[in-house]
Amino acid sequence: MIIRGEDIIIKTISRVLVPFIQLYALYVIMHGHYSPGGGFQGGVILGASMVLLFITHGYAEVNRKFSENIAVLFSSIGVLIYSGIGFLCLLLLGNYLDYSKLYKILSVDPAHARSLGILGVEIGVGFAVMAVMFSIFFDISTGGVSPDDEEEAE
């Protein structure tokens, strides 16, 4: 496992590429209503950008920006957004995940409320997929033991 990236060419190229990959991922999530894509695909692209950062810049830098614990938190938040929107519909006297009832708080007609509900759900899915992709990569590449702990043991 790479703890600290050294190669300046690889680091620079990935530093240039990662923002564009993340922008594309957000585009895939947000544009799921009109083109192929959505939460799952966009989340995977977002996770892939984090994995690229991990491979090129190493554990130390990525852990400072986006640690494993935050990844766990994000995956829970993603599922929470999804089920939370479902419960919100329940509170607005609709069925579970019946987004058309969201028009009461969004001040749009029910059809557009459903469209926005789909968008919210896709964002939740994107969060969860991105965080889980990254968390699994983190755990497998470090073998579950963070290098900080290993240094202490030595």
Binding site: S35, S75, R114, S146
Partner: protein, 92 residues
Amino acid sequence: MKFLSLIVTIITGAFLIYGTFDMPEWGDPNSPASRHVSPRYIEKTEIETATPNMVTSVLADYRGYDTLGETTVIFTAGASCILLLRRRKKKG
């Protein structure tokens, strides 16, 4: 015994292949699956959900409960990966 299981496999496979002859043609508009719910989605998606992409509206709206399950499956995969692999020392 191995020969017997081979025969059983071949007979079962032959029955399954015979069963596929009754399936509708690929993309047949008159097949039962295309006559029941598909036209409903094709006609009403734009009106009901204001989403031009039918796949998205079926995935996240009409079959939203299923997608919630899928997301939970992914979350469970991540959680079990953490449970199996991560060994963290207690701080302090």
